[in-house]
């Protein structure tokens, strides 16, 4: 008798849960920002493992910038200590002002990357009024694969500093066959004053 059966032997109530199975969102790590310049999920640090699952999802919410009207952004590490994986990405956005003065759906050329190594913006104009914040998800597919490029998809909503709701749709790939072993979030200016980012493996 071994494993989960042995762990439950003799129990008439309650249950020791089986280890995580396919199909379950397995929480790997949660970081809570407190005036941090960056939040980084690094292979082998704090239990972060980018090799165990085909699909990883970052959920971020209540992301509050120290600086008003700035970009929330991400970058990827591909073997070195630098977050500089080459990327090609596409971005479009929609927005709507609180006073109904404008709304649109459009491509955002200021947000995409063509074989660049710099950060990928996830959304622009994040406001820093006390109640303003950013939330969204970033899905990263098969980061440990060493044959194919690494696709990612993000959708993010923010309260823009000019009092409008803005949503960004980001898709792209890290154009590398090396494994991705680190993901870093930051603002383009100032610290992440507050917020939570959780990493799940599926």
């Amino acid at each position: 008798m071994s494993g989960i059966i042995a762990q439950n032997s003799g129990r008439h109530t309650g249950l020791v849960k089986a280890s995580s199975a396919d199909g379950v969102w397995n929480l790997i790590k949660t970081y809570t920002a407190s005036s941090d310049s960056t939040l980084s999920f690094v292979e082998g640090t704090d239990g972060v493992d980018f090799t165990a699952y085909d699909e990883y999802v970052f959920k971020f919410y209540n992301i509050h910038p120290e600086t008003d009207d700035t970009y929330f952004q991400v970058n990827f590490r591909d073997g070195s200590t630098a977050y500089d994986a080459t990327k090609t990405t596409t971005v479009f956005r929609n927005y709507h002002f609180e006073d109904d003065s404008g709304a649109a759906l459009e491509y955002e050329t200021g947000g995409d990357v063509a074989q660049g190594t710099g950060v990928q913006y996830l959304v622009q104009g994040c406001g820093n009024d006390n109640d303003m914040c950013t939330a969204g998800t970033l899905t990263l597919y098969d980061p440990s694969n060493t044959t194919f490029v690494k696709h990612f998809i993000a959708r993010t909503n923010t309260v823009h500093a000019s009092d409008l709701t803005m949503k960004w749709y980001v898709g792209g790939y890290c154009n590398v066959t090396a494994a991705i072993d680190g993901v870093q979030f930051s603002f383009a200016s100032g610290n992440i004053d507050a917020g939570t980012i959780s990493l799940y493996g599926i």
């Binding site: 129990r11 699909e55 090609t88 491509y107 898709g171």
Partner: protein, 209 residues
Amino acid sequence: MTGIISDNVGRTSGLVKSAGGGGAWTLIKTLTASSDSALSFVDGTDDVVLDSTYPIYKFVYTNAHPSQQSGDGEEFQFNLSEDTGSSYAVTKTTTFFRGRHTEADASNVAYVTDFDLAQGTGFQTLSANNSGDNDSSNSGEMWLFNPSSTVFVKHFIARSNYMMSAPGCFSPFVAGYGNTTSAVDAVQFKFSAGNIDAGTFKLYGLGDS
């Protein structure tokens, strides 16, 4: 003693799994492509469940790679069946738009009339102009809602990212419905020409109770 504990009394190996509960994605089936002309999930075949067991199903495909690139590249596609895979030709009406950005920095977002369907029975394009480069692939997901309903049409929503032949990044958004009140009981993925050289396809079910 009740439930999953009593189910496992006396077992010295193996484990009777607890039933998938509401809110948990249950992995139903994984198919791994290896030069396959198509990959099909058929209810009742090879442990596939695609019936009233779950109200929502999700297909996740990772690194779907075409065996060839002719011209500007192949289309990655799917279709639905209402006769357990004897035919894949459910009538569909769909929309297709995408963001596009080439590695040479040409970009736009656009609706693409070439890839939508208006009461068509052919395969629905999930991505087009796929690159055949060794490191190129598709990754994304498609949700299928309540396929067993015999009252309503069958909605689906897909989002993915892939490398197009330009080369560059395409990020398509596909949505539509199988315009049938028959139950949908099988789903097939393929490229418009050639084989699925590689890739992993997973089918999940999501309970609501």
